[in-house]
């Protein structure tokens, strides 16, 4: 199984005179957060199982600057973003895949104005392309009889109009898919965006993630599927707040595909 976990850094490939087909932008959550690291691991296994030649930046990767920019700190954002652009330029990176919708949005939509233009793709769209091309197939019936509801990430959905790719990927699992009452362009936020993840919420009568979790639980799912490491945190906490962690699990779409193919 060791080949499945093989990860090269761009620096290592560069030293061998190689360059990656695609750079996997891991993001801060995917690198440091214990739960999100499992998503990173699952996605790595999918990439290796399909023999896709990828690299990561490793310790050369920095935060994209998204929470700083959304909080209002443009200077800090510019410092981080311009450093990242310089690193990506150094390795001649042209194509980036990322498991984080916030990294995806900012690199794809906001780095070009700073001089960093790449083909940027979120992992759900990437998986959908692989499925469409026939390269990725989900073999086992591991999800037969399971009920899955997908929680739209704001930064994929409304921010970038990506609603279908995550759903198309989930369809391959042979599970029962249920939509929440507010979904797609009406999907309710998990409460983490705009740097809310990094501070207490303002006073109110309930937390946004609990509200969203209630909407998810209304459709009686076995699994809540997410496509964002921050939604993952919020929905997992929400399920715990509702004391449903034994019955309802929260998984990223990459994890579900990896589980479907017995990679994890």
């Amino acid at each position: 199984m060791s080949e499945l976990n093989k990860v090269s850094t761009a620096a290592e490939l560069f030293a061998n005179g190689e360059s990656p087909e695609i750079l996997f932008w891991v993001g801060c959550a995917g690198s440091f957060d214990d739960r999100a690291k499992k998503i990173t691991g699952a996605f790595v296994k999918i990439l290796n199982s399909l023999e896709i030649k990828f690299a990561v930046l490793g310790t050369e990767e920095s935060c994209t600057g998204d929470p700083a920019r959304r909080a209002g700190n443009e200077f800090l954002f510019q410092m981080l973003a311009q450093n990242n652009i310089a690193v990506l330029k150094g390795y001649g990176i042209k194509k980036i895949v990322t498991t984080c919708p916030h990294c995806f949005n900012i690199i794809k939509n906001e780095y070009p104005a700073l001089g960093g233009s790449y083909e940027v793709i979120h992992h759900t769209s990437f998986l959908q392309q692989l499925i469409d091309e026939g390269k990725l197939k989900v073999e086992g019936g591991n999800f037969k009889g399971k009920r899955i509801t997908y929680h739209d990430s704001c930064y994929l959905g409304r921010a970038n109009d990506i609603y279908e790719a995550p759903r198309k990927v989930l369809e391959t699992l042979d599970a029962e898919l249920a939509e929440m009452k507010s979904c797609k362009s009406r999907g309710l936020c998990c409460g983490a965006g705009g740097a809310q993840m990094f501070k207490e919420a303002e006073p109110g009568f309930m937390e946004v993630n609990v509200k969203r979790t209630e909407e998810a639980l209304e459709v009686n799912p076995n699994i809540i599927a997410s496509a964002c490491p921050f939604c993952m945190t919020m929905m997992t906490d929400g399920v715990k707040a509702k004391n449903k962690e034994d019955e309802v699990k929260v998984y990223d779409i990459a994890e579900l595909i990896a589980m479907g193919n017995n990679l994890i």
Binding site: N5, V26, C28, G30, S31, F32, D33, K37, T40, G41, V56, G58, T59, E61, S62, C63, P67, A68, R69, R70, A71, G72, N73, E74, F75, L76, Q78, M79, L80, Q82, A86, N105, N109, E110, A113, L114, C154, R158, A159, N160, R186, L188, C189, G191, A192, G193, G194, A195, Q196, F198, K199, E200, A201, E202, P203, G204, F205, M206, V208, K211
Partner: protein, 438 residues
């Protein structure tokens, strides 16, 4: 003697249109107090947006019931202008139903069509009054609507009732007079509503009936001229501004946040002192927005285009979980403050300062901090208003000019600066996951 009504009409018409146009011009001036923003690219797409969203009401139909009834009022408002044009011609030249002899059977169809839409608009107006005052739909009872906005909304509905009733009764009395072959009352053909409603007046003497017909005619046109003057002070301005506002909507992905070239260049020269940057960019007078004049003209056009329907606030995750933030209030505050700034300029000249500002005196830090930048408000707005963009500009001011951040955000900033991550992890541990997943 018979010239008196004509002179009176021309005087009333001229004065009211002049007074209204002055107010509309002051709104234009206020909008242009905003910073420059180039939204002139891709005119084909812009026309398409206007046709889809303003003319075609596309986003209204995300919410079918109100969209359905709103459509009656909207279409009848657009179509009734043909009849208003005729009233204006008749008023000025002393004619009666000027178009009737020229259009013949088509005139009968046109007036019947207007009558039918007016009747539907009457029903819709009643339903809207009920939704606001009896059912009390949640988005119409939120705190920012207390006081003037609530009265404004009901007053507009009342005005619509009066205008629509006047036009229906004008036709009813007119039709009754035609049945009696009264002099001066041109034959319109059989009108679809008036053929029935005219019976209401069958027992009224012809002389009194003429007085009644004139009364409804004058009520309708004076009502419209009054409304024209009322609209620029009310939320109802959307009936005009929905069109430019959708034309000038931002066409990029909603996730995008506007770049700040001045900051970008400054950071470029810090990172690489030899970098060639474009130094001719005018530095803004502040980073981000403290007051309405720090926003762009599109933000300000957004504020005047808002009809306070509250679809944004209804969808806002912060608002529905009890936080103070309401995207609708952001728009209403922006407009109120802009009106205040505009009035100050009119009274005291353009350099006058009242030491007030949008952020602080109208919108609090607590409100803007509660935003998750989820774009639900932007998605919902039927006329493509973007409250999020204003919130983010205010946040930039709060952080970069006032250093006013919650402690947790300052910690996050420090971590990002020192550890290149929002959390306090050693940046050298960033790739540890590679070993951990094995």
């Amino acid at each position: 003697m018979h010239l008196i009504p004509q002179v009176l009409f021309i005087l009333i018409f001229g004065i009211t249109v002049y007074v209204a146009s002055k107010k509309y011009m002051s709104i234009r001036r206020n909008i242009l107090l905003g910073r420059d923003e180039d939204l002139s690219d891709n005119p084909a797409l812009r026309w398409k947006n206007m046709v889809l969203f303003a003319l075609g009401q596309k986003k209204m139909f995300r919410n079918f019931i109100p969209a359905f009834f709103h459509l009656f009022i909207y279409v009848s408002f657009v179509i009734v202008n043909i009849e208003v044009l005729e009233i204006a011609i008749d008023g000025i030249f002393g004619t009666h139903r000027f178009f009737a002899p020229y259009l013949g059977g088509f005139y009968t169809f046109l007036i019947s069509f207007i009558e039918m839409l007016s009747a539907l608009a009457l029903i819709a107006t009643f339903i809207f009054i009920i939704r606001r005052n009896i059912i009390k739909v949640k988005r119409f009872t939120q705190p920012e609507l207390k006081g003037w906005p609530f009265k404004d909304a009901n007053f507009i509905l009342l005005m619509e009732l009066i205008l629509v009733t006047a036009i229906l009764m004008m036709n009813a009395t007119d039709y009754q007079l035609q049945l009696r072959d009264a002099e001066h009352y041109a034959n319109t053909g059989k009108l679809c509503v008036a053929q029935y409603t005219s019976n209401l007046f069958s027992s009224v003497g012809t002389e009194n009936l003429i007085l009644l017909e004139r009364f409804f005619w004058w009520t309708h046109i004076i009502g419209i001229l009054f409304f024209l003057n009322y609209i620029p002070y009310s939320k109802h301005l959307h009936i005009f501004l929905a069109f430019p506002n959708t034309y000038y909507s931002r066409n990029e992905k909603k996730g995008i946040m506007q770049n700040m070239p001045v900051v970008m260049n400054e950071v470029k020269t810090i990172l690489d002192p030899s970098a060639q940057v474009n130094a001719i960019i005018d530095p803004p007078k502040s980073f981000g927005a403290k007051d309405v004049t720090d926003l762009t003209w599109k933000h300000l056009l957004d504020a005047y285009s808002c009809t306070e329907c509250g679809r944004c606030t209804d969808a806002c995750p912060a608002n529905i979980t009890g936080k103070k933030l309401s995207p609708r209030k952001i728009m209403m505050d922006t407009r109120d403050r802009l009106e205040e700034v505009g009035n100050n300029i009119t009274k005291h000249g353009k350099d006058f300062s009242d030491n007030k500002s949008l952020l602080g005196d109208y919108i609090t830090h607590e409100e803007i901090r509660a935003c998750t930048s989820c774009n639900a408000c932007v998605e919902e707005c039927p006329v493509n208003i973007n409250p999020l963009s204003i919130i983010l500009e205010l946040r930039r001011y709060a952080i970069m000019e006032q250093s006013d951040a919650p402690a947790a955000w300052n910690t996050m900033f420090n971590n990002m600066e020192n550890n290149q991550s929002p959390w306090q992890f050693n940046p050298m541990d960033r790739a540890n996951w590679i070993e951990e997943i094995k």
